[in-house]
Symmetry: C2
Subunit: 229 residues, 2 copies
DNA sequence: CGAATAGTTGAGTAGTCTCAAAACAGGTGG
DNA sequence: CCACCTGTTTTGAGACTACTCAACTATTCG
């Protein structure tokens, strides 16, 4: 296992004292690397510096789903992983900070500010997961894509910027939004024809009608009536 | 607002000291009560003692979804609620313990054990939400129902017991699993005809073929080939 | 340049949704 | 006790979305 060796190569030499800061251990992984929880038993807490890690689930007949995505700044704690948590897979080239469980916990005990930050991040994860359930449950393909574009912009911290870089591959977006790649492709075509987005490059989406896109994502548009040929 | 008055009726008289335990304030709500976050600004941390609270989301054209359900023992922290978190709604008669933010945080600072318990619970919430996304994303109606029955058993702590009480109403189960009530009803019929479950009463499911039900829930059964008339 | 991967387009099908109506359950009052 | 009402669950027929499978185009990379 590649990532096992990579992790073990780093000496775990955090000084133990009452007032200390653990030396941040960073590590990088290529796209499609599977992060096996067992390989991270000594340094089970990952903070994503760049890239994206997804939890990949596979049904018995090969249907795939990405249930949760961890983007920059988000925390993946392997200590809380179960058998049903899927396989942590790098959806992009990933760089992470690694912490031992004790170091991470002690950091929170020492700094109230750090503790609050982390609590907020964890809560935010649940909010994202909750919102994602809403997206998956009852939205049409085109609504799911509109939601994904807006979620991407929000989680990349782009504010109200109209150019959103969808850094994930189409297949990964499809797995995340509960669609087939073909259906997702058709949804892109429809969004363009509706004049809500424009794509110069493959993964750069320019939002041409933000209110419309937001309304569509929130199910407020009966887009059937504005049907496109 | 009914729940506002109910909350305010309790005097907030937790003694402030270095070694103290906040007096647990309990409160009860009827089915379909909406727990408005603003009414809980003073006591924003809810621990569910009995019943179930769901986060209800509504799309612009009336489509409903329940994204997350809080069952016994689970913690709902209104401090981390955002506009996209939906409306906390009682799916059953609910009894909760209420804590102020400071009390809840201090409890965790004082007791490492309590802190660990709570961290595990919060992590478990994310695991449930993650698994729920898998259920919603690519499963058929009958697979969703099989998954829901098994999830219900697990979260009620019934172990391997074969009698599962689905305490939620059909409409709520449907909202949670991203189905229409009609489709859910048809899925029940199919599960019965496949001989995987038997229902004496409306909300009591007896699992007659657990391995089959589990395989179906995990997408390992091409149930099309074992089609039922 | 050719091979491999990623993404798009097309036609037909399966499964869920929609809308309508019927069956069922629980409570109230005569 | 039964008729009645209200809300929930089930059944039925048809429409429509997303899936499947296949072929095609575009892009990446050696």
């Amino acid at each position: 296992m590649a990532q096992l060796r990579q992790v073990e190569n780093f000496a775990y030499s955090t000084p133990k004292g009452t007032e200390w800061k653990p030396t941040p251990i960073t590590n990088s992984f290529a796209v499609d690397t599977v992060l096996d929880a067992e390989a991270f038993s000594k340094l089970p807490v990952l903070i994503v510096r760049s890239g994206a890690i997804g939890l990949l689930h596979m049904l018995g007949d090969g249907r795939q789903t990405i249930s949760v995505i961890y983007f920059e700044g988000e925390v993946l704690d392997f200590r809380h992983f179960g058998k049903t948590s899927g396989r942590a897979t790098c959806l992009l080239p990933v760089s992470v900070e690694l912490y031992s469980g004790d170091d991470y916990d002690n950091l929170q005990f020492q700094s109230t500010q750090f503790q609050m930050e982390q609590a907020t991040k964890r809560a935010q994860q649940l909010i994202y997961a909750s919102q994602h359930s809403v997206d998956l449950a009852r939205k049409s393909a085109i609504e799911k894509l509109a939601s994904f574009i807006l979620e991407s912009r929000k989680r990349q911290g782009l504010g109200r910027h109209l150019d959103v870089l969808l850094r994930l591959r189409r297949a990964d977006i499809a797995d995340y939004m509960g669609l087939r790649a073909e259906t997702l492709s058709r949804a892109f075509t429809k969004l363009k024809k509706l004049g809500l987005i424009a794509c110069d490059q493959a993964d750069l989406v320019h939002i041409t009608n933000e209110p419309g896109l937001r309304q569509l994502a929130n199910g407020k548009v009966n887009w059937m009536k504005t049907r496109v040929q």
